[in-house]
């Protein structure tokens, strides 16, 4: 197995973070991370950014009357055809 450079690791960095890798690509990255503190720090930071943004994804309460407005839209859609 050819050792990866940091730049090569960076290309698959987020796929690794998202657990989307398996087999040789995964083994190569894990082997690199065992030796490379800098990539480990970058990985930890990206995990932090992910959690930070994830906790701030927009949220909103379902507005009152939404279901009846959807029913009206459906009624209009049927009526038009």
């Amino acid at each position: 197995m050819t050792p990866l450079t940091c730049d090569q690791v960076m290309k698959q960095f987020f796929a690794y973070l998202d657990r989307a890798l398996s087999g040789e690509p995964l083994d190569q990255i894990e082997e690199h991370l065992e030796e490379c503190l800098s990539c480990c720090d970058k990985l930890a930071f990206s995990r932090t950014v992910d959690a930070f943004v994830k906790a701030r994804v927009p949220e909103g309460k379902v507005p009152e009357g939404l279901e009846s407005r959807v029913r009206q839209a459906l009624e209009r859609a049927v009526g038009r055809e």
Binding site: D18, V53, A77
Partner: protein
């Protein structure tokens, strides 16, 4: 067969003849129980309650028209989420927002970690990167996420909020797995760049360009 595979055939070219009242009632019975979850997904994808409501209505009307082609009524929730998500995801094909991404090679080289390290905006911090992030308020982060072109924002929201796997996203959005991989990679890079630009505007870091 996954949920997404189960509903795929029914969203392809599924415009049927005009639905009558009995069909509409049957559709409402099956589809309206999913309204709250759909609405929450719509807010995450659009960022505002009003845009989310418009998107949800558009989704239901589109779904009603394609209802006759739905083969598995138990998969209606996944089918509705797919229609809604595709309505947002496909917008980029008619809008030039992709242009905002700029030079992709330059984007791939961008590293917020390195910039924060080099600029050292908080010289007395013993948790430099964490403290850098802590300076943003929630609204700034949301704006950075919503500033992403749909092609990048939709997969990121599906990852963060719906916790879909790459494969599930590829099936839902009907794009190759490699496309999902690169959109999630570059989407995060653009997001990091937006946060850096925001930090510069706020005077958190010196504002010369690198």
């Amino acid at each position: 067969m996954t949920e997404a595979e189960g509903v795929r055939s029914s969203t392809e070219g599924g415009i049927s003849a005009a639905p009558d009242i009995a069909v509409r009632h049957r559709f409402e019975q099956l589809a309206l129980p999913h309204l709250d979850r759909l609405f929450r997904l719509a807010v995450r994808l659009t960022g505002t309650v009003q845009d989310a409501e418009d998107l949800v209505q558009e989704t239901y009307v589109k779904a009603l028209r394609a209802f006759a082609a739905l083969r598995e009524s138990e998969a209606v929730g996944a089918w509705l989420r797919q229609i809604l998500t595709r309505l947002v995801f496909d917008r980029h094909r008619t809008e030039p927002r992709e242009m905002l991404v700029g030079d992709l090679e330059e984007l791939d080289r961008f590293s917020l970690y390195d910039l924060v390290w080099d600029e050292d905006p908080l010289p007395y911090s013993d948790n430099l990167h964490g403290d850098f992030l802590a300076q943003f308020d929630d609204e700034e982060v949301r704006r950075a996420l919503l500033a992403l072109p749909e092609a990048y924002r939709v997969p990121l929201v599906l990852l963060y909020a719906e916790e879909l796997s790459y494969r599930e996203m590829a099936e839902m959005l009907e794009v190759p797995l490699g496309t999902i991989m690169s959109r999630l990679h570059r989407g995060r890079k653009i997001l990091e760049r937006e946060l850096w630009e925001c930090a510069k505007r706020r005077g958190l870091v010196r504002s010369w360009d690198r």
